[in-house]
Symmetry: C2
Subunit: 338 residues, 2 copies
């Protein structure tokens, strides 16, 4: 089942989307919004699946599905937690800095609490005041959870995964350093994130989701040029249940929590830092990693961060090459007060 929120008020209007992303059917009879459906998922999900089946069979009235009319699946959410599951990324950053990485980083996940009050739709621009802040994409796989108790077991954590989507976790790279030094996490350096048009239930993934990891190439493009295609199941030191267990060590999580696994990052086939796509590598999911690898290989970063007018595209195809979520397509724009 695939779900989307058409732009409408603060929380959008829930629709069920066809597997091929061409059509959608109103889901208002089940729940007005995705959050409302998640609040009562065990009752809502079977009824939404009935609509999905009717939509595939052409037995329900529907409209063309247009990603440009979509808000984020959750336009505002009660929680956005983002882990750094691909420790390779962190190791590279440390290596470029000449800093030792604590051994605990391989067993204790990095995770931050992100702003969840305003999320961008898949085609909404990225508004930034100052290009000098170092505008970067971060392409990630994220899950939407049902209620999770404090001290969740691995089984409870896995069972809490209700939907999967992709995020562009926009990062202002030149503001992260001072915020990391303060230790209090990211407030100014992480503006509003954008999500794919569609959130998808785990059963749609077949063998590409084993209950803990999605394993498909995550495709990023900058200005139309392939930028990254790492395999999301590789080098994922902490899988989703592990990240959920980390988050629930001291507290419960409410239904509708979005939990991310961080920038996807693969080692090169030879075990070294990943190469750009044009050199036969899998590329990157953020410019910061490319700059880090350039620093390691060439002594200094070469690739600039994003400029106003640049375009970012993030998507994922199934093993048959069919788009799963629809694409995030965003322009970077100068923020001006309206």
């Amino acid at each position: 089942m695939k779900l989307a929120s058409l732009k409408d008020g603060r929380d959008g209007r829930l629709v069920v989307v066809a597997k091929d992303l061409t059509r959608c059917a109103d889901a208002g009879a089940v729940a007005p919004t995705l959050q409302a459906a998640l609040d009562d998922w065990s009752s809502a999900a079977p009824r939404l699946k009935e609509i999905a089946a009717a939509l595939e069979a052409g037995r329900v009235s529907h409209a063309p599905f247009d990603a440009a009319k979509c808000a984020a699946p959750l336009p505002r959410a009660y929680q956005w937690l983002d882990g750094s599951a691909y420790v390779n990324h962190v190791a590279l950053v440390r290596q470029a800095r000449g800093a030792e990485m604590p051994a605990s980083f391989w067993t204790d996940p990095l995770m931050y609490q992100g702003g969840s009050d305003i999320f961008l739709g898949p085609r909404e621009p990225i508004p930034v005041v100052d290009e000098a802040w170092g505008i970067d994409l971060e392409a990630e796989v994220v899950v939407i959870l049902g209620d999770v108790p404090m001290g969740a077991t691995r089984e409870e954590a896995a069972a809490a995964i209700k939907l999967i989507m992709l995020v562009n976790d926009v990062t202002l790279r030149n503001l992260t350093g001072p915020e990391l030094a303060k230790g209090f996490g990211f407030v100014q350096s992480k503006p509003a994130s954008a999500f794919t048009p569609v959130a998808v239930t785990p059963d749609e993934f077949g063998a590409a989701f084993d209950g803990a990891k999605v394993n498909l190439p995550l495709l990023s493009f900058v200005n139309g040029k392939p930028f990254g295609k790492p395999q999301t199941g590789n080098d994922m030191t902490f899988d989703f249940p592990a990240l959920i267990m980390h988050a629930t060590r001291t507290r419960a999580l409410v239904a509708g929590t979005i939990l991310g696994a961080g920038t996807v990052s693969n080692r090169d086939a030879d075990g070294g830092p990943g190469k750009p796509i044009e050199e036969g590598g899998l590329g990157y999911s953020c410019i910061a990693e490319q700059r880090t690898v350039e620093t390691i290989r060439l002594g200094k970063p070469l690739t600039p961060f994003l400029k106003f007018g640049d375009k970012v595209r993030i998507e994922m195809n199934d093993a048959q090459g069919r788009p799963i979520f629809g694409a995030i397509e965003q322009d970077v724009v100068r923020y001006r007060r309206g």
Copy 2:
């Protein structure tokens, strides 16, 4: 006007509360929940004030107001941002550690993004798995905001303050160190916070709120014994508009955002670290600060963190000694899976 959310479903049921906190009237005709009222505040607020006036005049049906029946005013919120506005607190912690405090801390606020998906009602216990985690209270003044644009001016920031309340920002002190070292902020060390029964509009404060700071003693008690009574308008290096401007440097904030000013901390009259109440001082708003002052004065911390069975009370009275918000009264309990 005073507002509360009686326990009912995930978001509570909005009521208007009498100034003297004895009675409340249903507000369902205006908005079912406080978040719904905040989503349309310019329309909802005048109608809620009409109910408040009718309640004071005895012209509307009402029920006794019982803080034990209250959820947090926002039982789940889209955002919880907490600044450290009382830099004196941070300076003391650094002094006890023998660490220099960066000069920038006096001009660039510390602020973290907290978990907002589950908040505790004013009489709900604090459930913790392990006493050894160092269970601490943090008594703070917080505001609830309307929508705030990115790059808000000081005037816009001040105008966004719709409601004021108190929080017990529960902190697991022995988990903060490792999380601060990781730089990603507080995920495990800040479990669910609890709020006062009632949120209050700024106009209720008269001279005690100047549009930027509340200036009244913040009263904390541990096991019934007075623990802190610092003056919230003193030593507040960053006032609320300054904190809001910090948060909106790179992004907008959605209506219903809760923004805190951090643990309230006053210097002693002689300019030194504050003394305990039993020594004639104003005491503290968290045990960590008392332990810090003990370290500075006596060479080591003496006061233990909270134990299972301990009781915390946080409240604030007006200049005439009348309670403004009702009290947070929480027992610390061992968390057991149900």
